[in-house]
């Protein structure tokens, strides 16, 4: 018997609104379509009417999870147009915040995935660990999200010696519990049964559709903007691209677990080598000449693109924001085909979607 099964836009398995239409034959998904736009807030339109500092504050609110990535990318686009040299200490602080953001984002996704899988005890342990990261972000910035750490030309807040020590202590604690988490995730039968061989996106399909970030790396694509097109101070640090070949939901779990170790490595190096000096070029509204630039930033979910066009005036002429979910969501129908309806929620969630980001 053929059915059309709608999932969303509002559904218990979805953290944010999206609409997927599954075309099924009994329990098997034969085809699927995805529709977006339920969180559209007109941010690109609003950006045309705001000055650069107002826009910086606004784009940080595109997303509650990767808020720093948006501010980071927007500021980099303007700094590139204006040919500003951001002080090294400011660059390091931006990177530290970005990697802490990646850690808490990956932990968030792991928790959600475990909840959908049905492993609620591990979900709670994961989110308990995440709280330590949120606490340290609050200590650094004053906020759990929307940190306001970026200004055009550098960072807005410095990191004190005491905070530096607290971050390093937190990382030690997290790393220890992460070892335990990694062991369980890689050996647990429940996790394996729900994720291995489920929602496969082959390397060929990932390349054809243009997947990015951890989602692409879980399909054996060695792409990472931090290494392929280094920006800010990422080329000062040693870390590796994490790639896993099985192309299924399990692969996406493994990638995010292993990437946490790389983020910890980067933060430790940045704190060890934190240069002395100013953190920014001043906090007044900058003068930006006419120009255009597109920057790429490796946000927690993948490549984030900001294209900014200026005309020498106070406001943006155009700000175009494209987030990793915009590149990864088109892969969902391919991953769903041939799987059962029961796995649809987990497969959709496995791209770590952020529809708030995508709809902007």
């Amino acid at each position: 018997m053929s059915y059309i099964v709608p999932i969303g836009p509002y559904h218990p398995a979805l953290e944010e609104p999206v609409h997927a239409r599954l075309y099924t034959e009994g329990e098997e998904i034969k085809d699927a379509e995805v529709f977006i736009g339920y969180n559209h807030r007109g941010i690109e339109k609003l950006a045309q009417q705001k000055n650069f500092i107002q826009t910086l504050v606004m784009v940080e609110r595109v997303c509650g999870i990767c808020s720093h990535s948006h501010a980071f990318a927007y500021a980099m686009a303007l700094e590139s147009i204006a040919k500003m040299n951001v002080p090294k200490r400011g660059q390091y602080i931006r990177v530290i915040t970005a990697e802490l953001e990646r850690l808490h984002s990956h932990y968030l996704w792991l928790g959600i995935a475990l909840h959908i899988i049905g492993h609620d005890s591990l979900f709670m342990h994961t989110w308990d660990d995440r709280e330590a990261i949120m606490d340290i972000l609050e200590e650094i910035s004053g906020n759990r999200v929307n940190y306001g750490m970026v200004t055009i030309g550098g960072a807005r807040r410095d990191i004190s010696d005491e905070t530096r020590k607290n971050v390093l202590e937190m990382l030690d604690k997290i790393e220890e519990s992460m070892n335990r988490l990694t062991d369980i995730l890689l050996s647990d039968k429940t996790v394996a049964l729900r994720t291995q061989g489920v929602g496969v996106l082959t390397t060929e399909d990932a390349k054809r559709i243009g997947a990015v970030g951890p989602h692409a790396r879980a399909s054996n694509m060695a792409v990472d903007v931090r290494i392929d097109a280094p920006y800010s101070s990422y080329d000062d640090f040693e870390f590796k691209k994490v790639v896993y070949p099985t192309c299924d939901v399990f692969s996406r779990v493994v990638i995010r677990v292993l990437e946490n170790y790389e983020s910890i490595k980067i933060i430790r190096q940045a704190l060890d080598m934190l240069p002395k000096g100013p953190i920014n070029l001043g906090t007044r509204i900058p003068t930006i000449p006419a120009g255009e630039y597109m920057v790429r930033h490796e946000a927690p979910r993948g490549q984030l693109c900001y294209k900014v066009v200026t005309d020498g005036g106070e406001n943006n002429k155009r700000v175009s924001i494209h987030v990793p979910t915009f590149k990864n969501a088109p892969t969902v129908p391919t991953m769903l085909r041939g799987n059962s309806i029961a796995d649809a929620g987990l497969i959709i969630a496995s791209i770590d979607p952020c529809f708030s980001c995508m709809d902007r």
Partner: protein
């Protein structure tokens, strides 16, 4: 700093450039577009060439050929989004279904980025004459 190179092309060069890039395995990072003061399109095809972005830009055109047959869904979503947000069309791109905007909000092609805010608010509230 990541390098960004803008290269002006004509609409007739859009497909050959895409074919050349695809043949070399170069990813399409994104298609960006905006309208100038006269309502004319400015469409940039952003390719990831090593660490740099090469931005192949067509200016002054509001109708362009699709590259969905070359870059598949990686081009289809950006093209459909642009068509729904502003007065730019991609010939050959399937627009039979909405991707982004609800069917009820706008007539025909999207005009979000060029419609004044007060007019948009009236449209959403259904107060437009």
């Amino acid at each position: 700093m990541q390098e960004y190179r803008k290269i002006s092309i004509t609409k007739d060069e859009v497909v050959p450039v895409a074919e050349k890039m695809r043949a070399q395995g170069i990813p399409l990072a994104m298609i960006h577009a905006f309208l100038d003061e006269n309502g004319k399109g400015n469409v940039s095809y952003e390719y990831e060439v090593g660490p740099a972005i090469e931005s192949y830009t067509v200016e002054g055109e509001n109708v362009l050929p699709t590259i969905t047959h070359i870059y598949d869904l990686g081009a289809e979503w950006p093209e459909r989004e642009i068509m729904e947000l502003m007065d730019i069309r991609f010939e050959g791109c399937d627009t039979s279904k909405r991707l982004f905007m609800p069917d009820s909000m706008l007539d025909g092609q999207g005009q979000i980025l060029v419609t004044p805010m007060d007019k948009l608010i009236k449209k959403v509230k259904g107060e437009e004459e």
